[in-house]
Symmetry: C4
C-alpha cells in the first residue's frame, strides 16, 4: 500500500523496486553527467528558512489561483511523458489523483493516453504541454484537441530545440516506447502516430503564432535567463515556468531555484512564475514561493507515486506534499501564501 | 562510570549503548531529513576563533547573572521532555546535577516528573518551559504550580504552532510514552493527564496575557528572525532564546548560531539573548557568547549524560563543558565573559 | 571498437584497460598531490550555464578562424608528448584524425614521430609546440623544420623553466622513453636525438628573438596571470594559451578556467585567447568561450582516444566533443560562436 | 633509508610504521576534535598560485636573513618537544640536520637533550623557545643557559596560558615521558628537573621583563589576532610567529595562513613575521611568503623525519622542502624571495 511511505524518498524506493531498471533509469536519469539533476535538489538544500512566530496560523489557506482556476495548494503536476511506462493505469490515473487533490495536471504531449481520455476520467484542471511542431497545421490541430478536451492553458516548452542526450538511456539501449504504447496525442487525421519533433527554428514569433490560433493562456516553460523572462512578458505570454526540464536537456545548466530570483526581478509581478526541478519537500515549495514563484510543479515524484501505487500512489504523493506545505506554513508563521515573503529564506552560510 | 568519557561525543556513545534504539532515535532525531539537526553543529564548525594573548587569565570568572540569579557558568539545561525515558531517575536527577553544577535547569512542560518533585530534590535554579495551552485557565494553573514550586522564569515556546514531524519516530512507531510514564505537569485538578496541545492561534497577545497572570520573567524561546526579536522586546519579554527546537520542528530552518548575529543586532542589548542548538564544546559556548548570547543551553547532551549515568552522568556533562569553557576562555585571553568580544570569531575562509 | 564509448570518461576507461599502468599514470598524473589536475575539471563543475531560448538555432555554425585557418569547431588538439606510448600509430594517427575532424593539431616538441612524417600523412592544420632551447641555433633549426613541414603557428611553452615533479612517475620509476621511441623533432644535424632542455633563463626577449627567426604566428602557452597576458600582447605575440600544463608542472596552481576571465579582461580582444585544462564536455567548451576563449585544446582525451583505438579513437573523441558542443550551442540558444556571451555562465551558488 | 620517500606524506608513513602508536598519536594529535589540525593544511589547499612566466629564474636565491643570521632557505625547524621520543638520537640529530641544511632550529624548552649538548654537536643557528615560568629567577637562569650555548634568539610562546587538552593522549593514557627521558632544559641548580608550568598570569609586561634580562632578539610565538600583532610591535618584540601551536592548544582556532594577511597588514613590515602550521609543500612555503611571512617553520614533519631516519631523516625532510621551494619559485617566476608577491596567491573560487 503506497500510503505506508512517509516521504517522497520512500515512495521513490518503492517505485524503484517495482519498475524495470531500464524504465527507472529513464525516469531518474538526466543529460550528461546529471550534474543538473543533482543541482536542482542540492540548491534547495543550500537555502535555509528563517521562520516567523506568534502569527496565528490556526487557519491556513494553501489555495492559489492560476489562469482563472483555483488550486487547492501551490503544487501541480508537471508534464512528464509515458505514464503507462510507470503503471498500466497511465495518465488517467494521474489525472484522477490530481483532480482528487484539487490541483492541476499538465498533460504531456508525450502522454501515452489521448488527451480526450485523460480529460474524461476525472475532475482535474488540465493544462496541455506542447512542443510546437514544424508542421503548424498539425500543431494547431493538436491545440484544438486540447481545447476541445477542456484544457485550460497551453504550456509551451521552449528549452528543447534539440533532444537532450541521456546517457543512461543510451547505455540501456532504451530508445523507443515498448510495443503497445504510443504518444496518443501525436495521432494525425490518418490515425498514424507522428514522432514528436524538436523544432530548433522556433523563435519568439512562435508565441505570436500561438496567440493567433488559441485563446488559451500561454505559459512558456523552460526559462532560466532573466532576459528571456522579460522577452516572454513583452511577447504577451500569460505565465512562465522556470525549468531546466528536470536536468534532462542540457547538463551543467543552473538549478531552477538558483535561477528564480533574477527571473522574479525581471518579471516584476507582471505574470505568474511557476517552477519545477528538485521539489521534494514542503519546505522546497515554501522556498520557491518566497523567492517569487506562485506554484511549483513536481515531475519525477508523480511517476514514483504512479509506479508505486497507481492513482492512489499519485494521490499519496500529492497529499504528503500538501501536509508538508501546510506544516511548513504553520511553522514559518504563514497563514496564507501571501505571508510567504522573501525574508523567510536565507542562503546557508559556508 | 560515566566520568570515563572525555567529551560529549563519548557520552553520546555510552548513552546509545544503554538506550532502547527507539528511545535513542527519539532523542537524536529531528524533523524531516534532519538537515537542521546537522546544520546546528556544522554551523559552529564553520566558525573559527581568533584568540588574544598575554592578557592575564590566571583568575577566570565564568559566572553570569540571569533574571536575578547567578549561574556558575554560561551553560544551562535547555528544556527536553521525558527524562524518565533516558533514565529511571528522570528529571529530579537532572535537577540535582544542575544544582550541583550551579546552573539553571529549564523544566519541560513534558517532564515525566511533577515540577513540585523536581524542585524538592535539589538546589538548582529552575525555570519552567511552557506551551501556552488553548485552555488558558489550565495554562494559568500550570504557571501557578511552577511559581509555587519556586521556578524563577517562564520559558515560553513560540516555535511550535503545530507538532514537528519526526520521521524516525514515525518509522519506529514511537507515538506514545511507555506505560507508567506521563507528563506530570499536565495533570489537571481531576488528576487526569492532559495531552500537551500545540496552539496554532497564538499571537503576541499571548505575551500580554502571560504578563497579566505572572510576575515571573518571560523568556520567549524559538526566535530566529530579527523582526520577531524586535517584536519580542517591544512586547516586553525579559529574554529571548534563539532556538530551532534542536531541529525537531521544521527541517530546513537555519542553524541557531547563524541566526544569532542578526538577532543580537535587533535586540541591541535590551534583553539577554540565550541560544541552544548544536553546542557540544566549550568553544561553541564561547562562539555564541562572542556573537551576542549571554548563555547557551544544551539539550541532547543532558539526556546523553542522564542515560549514561543518571545524575552523575548529567553532572559529568556539565563539568566537561565547564572545564572546556574555562580552558577556551584562558586560551582566547578572556578572564571574564565580558572579554568574549565579537572579534574573537571569524568565519572559516572557503 | 572505440565508437562504443558514449562520452570521454568511457574512452578513458577503455584506454586505461589497454595501457601499461605505468604509461597510464604518465598520462593521467600531474605534479605533486595533483590538486591542480583535479582543480581543472572541478572548476568547470562549479560554473553553471544559463541558456537562452527561442533564438532559431536550426543552423548552427561551429566554425572559427585562427591565424588564417578555419577550424570546423572551437576544439583543437593540445600538444602532448609521446603518442607512440599510447598507440603504435602515434602522432600520424592523431594528425590524421585531427585533419578528418577539420581541426588543428599542435605537434609536441616531444613527439615520437618527426614533424615531417606527421605532416605527410593527413590534412590537419598543424601548429608546432616549442620549448626554446638554450642552443638557439638548434632552436632555429627546429623552427625551420616545422616551417618546412607546413606548420602554421608556433606554440611557445612559457610555463616550464624547470621540469615539473610528477610523483607517480617517480614512484613507478618511469624516467625514460622505452627503447625504440625517441623525440624525433630533437634530432640534430648529426642524427643524434637531443634531450629537451627546460631553459630557466628565458625572458620576454625570447619572444623578440623568435619574431626575428620566423614569420609564423607566435602563440604563448602557459599564461595564467593577467599581467603576463598584458606583457605578451605588448611583446607582439599573436595569441595566448591559458594553460597550467594540465597540472603537470606546479601543483597548487589555479584552474585554467578560473584564470580566464582576468586574462580576457587584460587582453581586451587584442589577440585570440585559447585555453586547455579539464575540458571534457561540450558545455566546458561553451563555458570557456563564454568567458573569453576563442577555442579550447584537449590533451589527455586525445591520448585516451589514441590508446583506445588509434586514429579512429582520436576521431571518435573529437566527434563526441563536436556533437556535444553542437548540442550545447542549440540548448543555450547559440547559432554561432558569436552568440556565446559571458552572461550564459553563472557561478554555482554555494 | 629515509631518502626513498619522495614527499613529506611518505616520510610520515615511514615514521608511523616505526613509532609506538601512542607516541605517533602524541605527535600527530591536537586539541579537541582536531579541527584546527586539519584546518592548517586545508587552508593551504584552498589557496591557489597564479604564476608569472619568462622572468629568468635560472639563478634562484632562496636565502633570507633573520636577526643577523642567514638561512639558506625560508624554512626553519619550529620548536617541538621530546625528540628522543621520536628517535634515540633526539635533538642533537635534529640540530645537526638543520645545520647541514643551513637553517635555524628552534630548540624547545621541552627538549629531551640539554641546550648545551644540542649546541655542541652541529653548526645550526639555534633559537631557544621559552615558556616564561612563574619562577622568574629560574626563567632567567634558563635564558642565560640558552645565551651561553650560543642561541641567537628567544622564541617566547604566548599561546599557552594553560595546557591544551589532547584527547588522543588522554585516551592513550600518555601523560608522562617514558623513564629515562626528561626535559633537560628544566633542570635547576639542584639537578632536579622541574615541570614546565604554563603561566596564565602572563601579560605584555613579561615582554618588558624579558627585554631587561636578555639582549637576544625576542620573537613572540602564537599570535593570531592583528591587535596582538600591533601590541607586540609596540612592546618592542623583534619578530612574530603566527602559530596556533599546530592545533594542539585550542581546537576551533583559525588556520595560521588564514590569519596571516591581517597580521601582515597590522605589522606593516615593522618586524619579520614567521608562520608555522600545516606547511607540507614548497607551494605552502611560497603561499605564506606571498601573504607576508619571511620564513615558515615546520614541526611535525621534522619529527617524522627524525623517526624515519634520525639526522638523515630530518635532513631529507629539509632537502625535500628546499627542492620543492626552489622548484615552486622557478615555476612561479621568482628568482629571489623578494619576487614572491601577494598577487601570486588567489583564493580558490567555490
Amino acid at each position: 500500500m503506497p500510503s505506508d511511505e512517509i516521504n517522497l524518498a520512500e515512495v521513490a524506493a518503492t517505485a524503484r523496486s517495482r519498475l524495470d531498471p531500464v524504465h527507472w533509469d529513464f525516469i531518474a536519469g538526466g543529460a550528461g553527467d546529471e550534474r543538473t539533476v543533482r543541482a536542482n535538489t542540492a540548491a534547495f538544500d543550500r537555502l535555509r528558512l528563517r521562520p516567523r512566530v506568534l502569527r496565528d496560523v490556526s487557519k491556513r489557506d494553501l489555495r492559489t489561483r492560476l489562469f482563472g482556476d483555483e488550486l487547492s495548494m501551490p503544487v501541480f503536476v508537471s508534464p512528464t511523458g509515458f505514464h503507462r511506462l510507470a503503471h498500466p493505469a497511465g495518465e488517467p490515473a494521474t489525472a484522477y489523483a490530481a483532480g482528487a487533490a484539487g490541483t492541476v495536471m499538465v498533460v504531456s504531449m508525450g502522454a501515452t493516453t489521448a488527451i480526450e481520455d485523460i480529460a474524461a476520467g476525472g475532475t482535474a484542471v488540465l493544462w496541455f504541454q506542447l512542443y510546437v511542431q514544424p508542421d503548424l497545421a498539425f500543431t494547431a490541430a493538436v491545440i484544438r484537441r486540447a481545447e476541445a478536451a477542456g484544457c485550460r492553458a497551453l504550456v509551451v516548452t521552449a528549452d528543447s530545440p534539440v533532444f537532450g542526450r541521456r546517457e543512461r538511456d543510451l547505455r540501456n539501449g532504451f530508445l523507443d516506447l515498448p510495443s503497445g504504447l504510443a504518444c496518443e496525442n501525436m495521432r494525425d487525421d490518418t490515425g498514424a502516430v507522428r514522432d514528436i519533433e524538436m523544432d530548433a527554428a522556433l523563435t519568439w514569433d512562435s508565441v505570436a503564432w500561438l496567440r493567433g490560433v488559441t485563446r488559451l493562456p500561454i505559459v512558456l516553460k523552460g526559462v532560466l535567463h532573466p532576459d528571456d523572462a522579460r522577452l516572454a512578458v513583452e511577447h504577451g505570454v500569460d505565465g512562465i515556468v522556470v525549468s531546466n526540464h528536470g536536468g534532462r536537456q542540457l547538463d551543467g545548466v543552473m538549478a531552477t531555484v538558483d535561477a528564480l530570483p533574477a527571473i522574479a526581478g525581471a518579471v516584476a509581478g507582471r505574470v505568474p512564475i511557476l517552477l519545477d526541478g528538485g521539489v521534494r519537500r514542503g519546505t522546497d515549495v515554501l522556498t520557491a514561493l518566497a523567492l517569487g514563484a506562485t506554484a511549483v510543479g513536481i515531475g519525477r515524484p508523480v511517476l514514483w507515486g504512479l509506479a508505486a501505487g497507481g492513482a492512489a500512489g499519485v494521490r499519496h504523493v500529492l497529499e504528503l506534499l500538501r501536509s508538508d506545505v501546510d506544516r511548513a506554513m504553520a511553522l514559518t508563521g504563514a497563514a496564507s501564501l501571501g505571508d510567504v515573503t522573501p525574508d523567510l529564506v536565507q542562503p546557508v552560510s559556508r
